[in-house]
């Protein structure tokens, strides 16, 4: 349209010029006038062009409340022609897919099959200890996540285990449009207990979970159920959460029938101290039921027995984490300190030595444990970490046969040192050495060499 306008203008100005203009000064004057008009129009044209460009750039934005969720950040375009927006937007609706690849070499001075945590009765399939010796595939994980529609997002992560099995670690939907700080999650998810529990294995700072988590939460407490979280409208971060579930894993054992087998409440708060420091602290409580839960125990004499526990378990978790980075820029150096205290109370009845005696009686035990760890990135790509673990098996109050299970007072403990090298934010190679005194009077020296890498979508990690 503008071109037409210009052409018409040219005709209107140009034609009469050719016929009417007679003398040289006149022609010169007219030429100058034309030049000035041309320059003026050129300027206006350029201004219009700029506005057109701005309008074009603004066009894909849902100005009229278009709920399209397609945003480059949510999707991972694998490849597209430069500047071809259509293709990029097509890819943008695909879920973000990430594959975590992990493998390890493990060397232990004691047989991992004989691993136990002294004074803690755990199910036969508890999966505690350093895992298998030698070369092994560590937990590799495939995860997918995307917004489902303007109201929900969904995510799933499938864990690939060294024994050729696949398990569903998480698979949940979550609301995005409740507003007012509320979000509801449904499906399978890691409970929001403590600091470490909701974190996936590939973001742990050590190869394994602390002893306290292994002994009291079945390493990591996952649940099938509902989770409601609310972030308070305050300047200080305050997040409250409530969870209901079937009581799937230890310390529960899916015994609720139609009812609810697990209830949890979580509370977290946090903030910054100046520009260089930040922190988060919380308190959580988990209540689960179990019925005829098979537990392995070691008698004072050293022989192993299988017991069955029925009753309820309450686990309190207090957690705190503090991070420091000069000017808040963690790229070069940073420090992370974290600690958690867990306290578990099991209350109910215990059928003792099912295979042999089979006597039953009331049972109550209060056990606790904590860990404290620090990780220091002393130069870009390199981090060193130290962790110490302590457990207190407490007293096991059995109606009968109490003496048989009595602990000899030695408390399980473990010290761990790790060094990792991160060529990029997607790759990590880690060396970890640990002195594990979870078994009575036996020292297990453990060495791990591990890689953890991720490909695909650029994952975003929580605090």
């Amino acid at each position: 349209m503008h071109k037409l306008y210009l052409a018409a203008l040219g005709l209107a100005l140009g034609f009469p010029l050719g016929t009417v203009a007679q003398t040289a000064p006149e022609i010169k004057a007219l030429r100058e006038e034309m030049d000035s008009i041309r320059a003026a129009y050129q300027e206006r044209m350029q201004a219009l062009e700029r506005r057109l460009q701005a309008a074009e750039a603004a066009a894909p934005v849902p100005a009229s409340g278009d709920p399209s969720m397609a945003r480059p950040q949510a999707a991972q375009a694998s490849s597209f022609a430069a500047g071809d927006r259509q293709v990029a937007r097509g890819n943008a609706s695909n879920p973000a897919i990430a594959l975590i690849l992990s493998g390890s070499y493990t060397r232990t001075s004691q047989d991992p099959d004989e691993y136990e945590i002294r004074g803690f009765q755990l199910p036969p399939d508890a999966g505690i200890g350093p895992g298998s010796r030698g070369f092994s595939l560590a937990e590799s994980e495939l995860s997918l996540a995307a917004n489902i529609d303007p109201w929900f997002r969904g995510a799933a992560s499938l864990a690939l285990h060294p024994d050729d099995t696949v398990s569903v670690e998480e698979a949940f939907i979550q609301t995005t449009a409740l507003g007012n700080g509320l979000a509801l999650k449904a499906g399978r998810f890691f409970s929001g207990l403590g600091y470490l529990n909701p974190q996936h294995a590939h973001v742990w700072d050590f190869v394994d979970m602390p002893l306290a988590y292994q002994a009291m939460l079945g390493t990591q407490y996952g649940e099938d159920g509902l989770q409601l979280t609310w972030v308070a409208p305050t300047d200080l971060f305050v997040e409250l959460g409530a969870e209901l579930g079937r009581g799937r894993g230890f310390p529960g054992n899916e015994s609720a029938g139609n009812g609810v087998g697990m209830r949890a409440l979580t509370a977290h708060t946090g903030g910054d101290v100046g520009i260089s420091q930040s922190w988060r602290a919380g308190l959580s409580v988990l209540n689960v039921k179990a019925r005829e839960q098979a537990l392995l125990a070691t008698e004072a004499s050293g022989s192993r027995v299988t017991n069955a526990f029925s009753g309820s378990t309450r686990v309190w978790v207090a957690d705190a984490v503090w991070k420091w980075a000069p000017n808040g820029n963690a790229t070069r150096t940073n420090i992370k300190l974290q600690g958690e205290y867990l306290r578990s109370t099991r209350n109910g009845s215990l059928a003792y030595d099912l295979d042999d005696l089979g006597t039953a009686g009331s049972y109550r035990t209060v056990q606790s444990g904590w860990y404290l760890q620090g990780v220091y990135q002393f130069m870009p790509r390199w981090r060193v970490g130290l962790r110490t673990d302590r457990l207190d098996p407490g007293t096991q109050d059995l109606g009968i046969d109490g003496a048989a299970l009595a602990s000899n007072g030695r408390r399980p403990r473990k010290n761990t040192l790790m060094l990792d090298y991160n060529p990029s934010e997607f790759s990590r190679i880690r060396l970890q050495v640990a002195q594990d005194r979870a078994r009575d009077g036996i020292v297990d020296n453990q060495i791990f060499l591990q890689y953890q890498m991720s490909l695909g979508a650029h994952g975003a990690h929580g605090y």
Binding site: P72, Q73, A81, G83, S424, G462
Partner: protein, 304 residues
């Protein structure tokens, strides 16, 4: 309860109700340049909080609890987009439980959507380093982009806070006028920089080069986002023998050592570019950012 108490209670409730209506629009900016722009365009109509500082690497920010709390209460989140904040912003949005600022909502503003991007890769492969599919996200280094984003942000503020639309329009026009004038000044001032060969520590200055006509002949990072190594610096040094550069540029948040090393060994000045508002003392606002950037480049170019 007598009538007086009722009146008092009603008054108190009304006050509570009225407060949010009069409150300023709460803006959370991911980077200082957008915080400064929102402040210019919103004035006393907005309450701006900035998630990062000029001394922090915007690629690598942690989703800290304090940021979740701020995003929870935000009416408008102003970020760069183009995957710059991909490692932390999605977590903040998810955890906040705030409907207004979710992707696709008017309260979610990505500046890079409103400018044409440079360095858009034809294919993405992580072996090329930290390459962004949407193109180079450091768009704030070209003041012409700031002008485009300002127009779009004014529109967005009017949309999110319609009761003040005319005031936003006024402020937007005023800013556009002042910016146009300043831009003319910088362009004239920086004319001698046209065609000058430079080296950069990170490929974060393409928009600056595009604006001023500077020519990038070397990058100190072997791949985008990968810290320079000694061996790569040696390679850069030998490249510069064949194609000499006049200066080496690094951003305020970056480790100055690689640039300083090159400065010593290739005998060329290392220029610390403020990169965003707050990156230097003079870069106290958006105008200061470009005043200072142009001044530093000119000083280095004439040092020869």
């Amino acid at each position: 309860m007598n009538a007086k108490v009722h009146v008092c209670l009603a008054a108190a409730l009304l006050t509570l109700w009225a407060v949010p209506v009069q409150a300023a629009l709460k803006v959370v900016a991911c980077e200082p340049e957008w915080g400064a722009l929102a402040q210019e365009l919103g004035g006393n109509l907005v309450d701006v909080s900035v998630a990062t500082t000029a001394l922090q690497d915007p690629h690598q920010i942690q989703a800290r609890p304090s940021l979740v709390a701020r995003v929870r209460n935000a009416d408008l989140v102003v970020c760069t987009g183009a995957e710059l904040e991909v490692g932390w912003l999605p977590i903040l949005l998810q955890q906040s439980g705030n409907r207004r600022i979710q992707p696709g909502q008017p309260g979610n503003f990505a500046a890079a959507d409103f400018v044409s991007k440079l360095d858009v890769p034809a294919s993405i492969d992580r072996s090329h380093g930290d390459v962004h599919a949407a193109g180079n996200p450091h768009i704030q280094m070209d003041p012409r982009n700031i002008a485009k984003v300002a127009v779009a942000l004014t529109d967005r503020m009017q949309q999110v806070d319609p009761s003040q639309a005319s005031l936003y329009a006024q402020r937007g026009t005023d800013f556009a006028r002042r910016w146009e004038e300043a831009l003319r000044g910088w362009t004239v001032q920086a004319a001698p920089l046209k065609g000058v060969a430079v080296a950069s520590q990170h490929n974060g200055f393409v928009y600056l080069y595009d604006w001023l006509g500077l020519k990038e002949v070397a990058v100190l990072e072997p791949k985008p986002g990968v810290e320079p190594t000694v061996s790569h610096l040696q390679t850069v040094l030998s490249t510069l023998k064949a194609r000499p550069a006049v200066m080496v540029l690094y951003a305020a948040y970056q480790d100055p050592r690689p640039s300083e090393w090159l400065s010593r060994n290739a005998a060329l000045p290392a220029v610390k570019v403020p990169f965003t508002v707050g990156g230097s003392e003079a870069a106290a606002d958006l105008f200061g950012l470009f005043n200072d950037t142009v001044a530093r480049l000119l000083a280095a170019a004439t040092k020869r």
